[in-house]
């Protein structure tokens, strides 16, 4: 009921904004085709209108309220740090995008953020406003894969590049992939392929697993991939409890699990859902008799449930800041982030930063903002030798970044060396070996023009 009223308000404001921008547009001189200035390329999407001036606009579309608010806010910080680094010509971003001087192709990067509430319809509404009103050349951000896949299709439709931030579903670069979308973070399949051998070694092959799964594309594909890898090695899947996104009370599901006879609890929950389900699992006594596994670790999880509950828990993450002890570029990023925001970055921030840096690299390589050329630069297969993750490269067939996955294990409170020191990095698994064939999940990219 509340949401409906909210929607009504937004729509009316959107209509007003649109009216205002139309009125503004009418004042522009007619008969002078703006694209005439932009060399050889015909108008497409927001090109060349979006880069006609001295700036280029990035629309940040992240959840700032609701179940995924904490990860969304962190992601926004990473994106904004990258934009600051671009505009200031910072050394770190020049490592990832060597042709960068200041800004992108000499244009200052401007940005605006909107709260998509982890709802696909709101995310699409925000992105549409960024594209039509702000003439955004790129839209970035997601925590829920449901919003990421919706924006994938919007991007293809509007011919504006879209960069998911956090999106764990196989579908994002699988059946819902599009030519205009590029995903940098790890995902269901690569996370499961990375963690399964570690789990089998640590927990044994004769285990009975119960799954707690968010009931949408992210949860479903992590479940599919985890069961694929663990069952092949001998684990049995006893039950799969599907929970709606944002469900506060897990008691009924946890009772089902308690009565199922399983001895491993694989919790696919993310954001505040992960926090609530873990705490309640503890209260129901489940964590005393079952081993908790988090195949796709949520940012800030350990901070919110406490080191006690996370000690010994295995999970995967896109980035963990102590990787800086091994990699100078990773350290440079973690230090810069901490200096600005006062805490070590979680992986939403890292994914956001990396996406902006890789976008700047592609645009600088293309030498133009004309989207098909930028896409060609993304697809050129070039290896990026020095990123915050070591060597990475884009797979041209499905626009998935080939990148390592971090398998981590929760630390005991007593072993923590500082306030953010929640995990030990067990293994950094290289990307090539843990990815499916590019067409295995039905990816058909579509056309660039």
């Amino acid at each position: 009921m509340g949401t409906d009223l909210n929607k009504g308000g937004l729509t009316r404001r959107a209509a007003l904004l649109r009216g205002a921008s139309l009125a503004g547009g009418a004042i522009l001189p007619i008969g002078l085709p703006t694209w005439a200035f932009a060399a050889d390329y015909p108008p497409l999407g927001n090109f060349p209108e979006g880069v006609a001036g001295s700036t280029v606009f990035v629309g940040i579309d992240v959840p700032l309220t609701g179940t995924y608010a904490d990860a969304g806010a962190d992601e926004q910080k990473g994106i904004e740090l990258a934009i600051e680094h671009l505009n200031g010509g910072n050394d770190l971003i020049k490592k990832i995008s060597p042709k960068t001087t200041k800004g992108v192709l000499g244009k200052e990067v401007k940005s605006g953020a909107a709260d998509e509430q982890a709802k696909a319809n709101v995310a699409v509404q925000n992105a549409t406003q960024f594209i039509t009103d702000k003439k955004a050349m790129v839209v970035i951000g997601s925590v829920s894969s449901a919003t990421a896949v919706a924006l994938n299709h919007l991007a293809q439709d509007k011919k504006v590049i879209y960069l998911p931030g956090i999106s764990g579903s196989n579908d994002t670069t699988g059946k819902d992939c599009t030519r205009y979308s590029f995903r940098a973070c790890h995902y269901a399949y690569s996370a499961s392929a990375a963690i399964a051998p570690v789990l089998l070694k640590a927990l044994g092959k004769d285990r009975k697993a119960a799954y707690l799964t968010p009931d949408y594309t992210y949860g479903h594909t992590v479940y599919d991939s985890m069961t694929k890898f663990t069952e092949a090695a001998g684990w049995k899947t006893i039950t799969n409890q599907l929970a709606p996104l944002g469900a506060p009370d897990y008691s009924a599901l946890l009772l089902n699990i308690a009565n199922s006879g399983a001895d491993v609890l694989v919790n696919i929950g993310f954001g505040n859902d992960a926090v609530n389900s873990i705490k309640q699992a503890k209260q129901f006594g489940l964590l005393d008799k079952m081993t908790l596994v988090m195949p796709y670790l949520s940012p800030f999880l350990a901070k919110q449930v406490g080191a006690d509950l996370m000690a010994g828990v295995y999970g995967t993450t896109e980035f963990w800041w102590t990787y800086g002890e091994k990699d100078a570029t990773a350290k440079q990023f973690a230090d810069a982030f901490k200096a600005k925001y006062g805490y070590n970055p979680e992986w939403g921030a890292h994914a956001g930063y990396l996406q902006i840096a890789l976008w700047a690299r592609a645009v600088e390589t293309a030498g133009t903002f004309y989207p098909p050329e930028v896409i060609k630069a993304y697809e050129n297969g070039e290896h990026i030798k020095d990123s915050t993750l070591g060597e990475v490269w884009w797979r041209p067939q499905d626009h998935q970044l080939v990148r390592p996955v971090f398998v981590v294990k929760g630390k005991k409170q007593a072993d923590m060396k500082g306030p953010d020191d929640y995990y030990d990095i067990v293994e950094v698994v290289p990307g090539e070996g843990i990815m499916q064939a590019p067409d295995a999940f039905g990816c058909k990219l579509g056309e660039a023009t």
Partner: protein, 288 residues
């Protein structure tokens, strides 16, 4: 998972989670029944109770103090809101009341977000209630049992207040015919203020009681509010017994559906509401 052990566990669990819904819904329904205002800020008041208790808990480390602080603080906020804003809307159309309380809810949520951020906060249950209790047929969190007892006591207290005191008499008479009560020379203004305060207090109390179970975020009241509307519609709008029975029915529907397929638990809840609206539009205990 259909087996006898799970069925009995879920049946019991439905009762416990339903009790909490009943308490929050009771606050909502008392306010609507007496003042005629559908309070869309009720979810925000629930959330505020959690945060007020959280602050008190940080300061004193005492769960009992946190509970009292949460309830009292939200009760006071309720009274202030009623005196400064809501009372000017009693004679306005329903839409205005809905808009103003909805707006108040947004303001409260965003103020809390401004002060505390979106990261979830949590309160530990008191140490003596942190473990697991064996009920013979199942293991159940001790704290949830405690919540059930506390909520039952709170609902009992509300019952006594409504059915055994002069204030309760006025309130119930007001639900039946507010004009007549006014004509009898009773200070309806003060009664209204008190009722709004009590309703708010019930929400705040539930908010802090629930905090050790569900970690608190600025949006924690959003879904609860929707569930409470369903409870109130099932039980009968404005009916105190209706809120209790409606809450328990809602808890059982969600828990027992989860046993077969959790993804249908919300669907079944709304299906039950639709069924009640079709067969008995005034709700199970409603009179109008």
């Amino acid at each position: 998972m259909l087996n006898w052990a799970n069925f009995s566990s879920q049946l019991f669990n439905g009762l416990v989670s339903g009790a909490l819904l009943a308490l929050i819904s009771a606050g909502l329904t008392i306010i609507y029944g007496t003042l005629g205002v559908l309070n869309l800020a009720h979810g925000a008041l629930f959330m505020l109770g959690g945060y007020a208790g959280f602050v008190a808990f940080q300061e004193t480390d005492s769960f009992v103090v946190a509970v009292i602080a949460g309830a009292v603080f939200v009760g006071i906020v309720g009274i202030v809101l009623e005196r400064t804003i809501v009372r000017f809307f009693y004679d306005r159309p329903d839409e205005d009341q809905i808009l103003v309380t909805f707006g108040l809810g947004i303001v409260l949520v965003e103020l809390v977000r401004f002060g505390f951020g979106s990261l979830s906060q949590s309160i530990s249950p008191p140490a003596w209630a942190a473990g697991v209790t064996s009920l013979g047929f199942m293991l159940y969190p001790t704290y949830r049992l405690l919540v059930f007892a506390i909520v039952a006591a709170a609902l009992g207290g509300l019952y006594l207040l409504l059915y055994r005191t002069r204030l309760g008499l006025v309130v119930r008479a007001g639900i039946e015919d507010a004009t007549m009560v006014d004509a009898l020379g009773i200070n309806v203004q003060r009664t209204f203020m008190t009722v709004f305060g009590i309703g708010a207090m019930a929400a705040g109390f539930a908010g802090i009681i629930n905090a050790p179970i569900i970690s608190i975020t600025p949006n924690v009241g959003d879904d609860i509010l929707i569930e409470c509307f369903v409870v109130v519609v099932i039980g009968g709008v404005g009916s105190f017994p209706g809120a209790i029975v409606g809450g328990l029915v809602a808890g059982e529907i969600m828990s027992l559906t989860s046993m077969i397929d959790p993804s249908y638990s919300a669907v079944m809840l709304f299906a039950a509401m639709a069924l009640v609206l079709a067969l008995r539009p005034q709700g199970l205990f409603g009179t109008r």
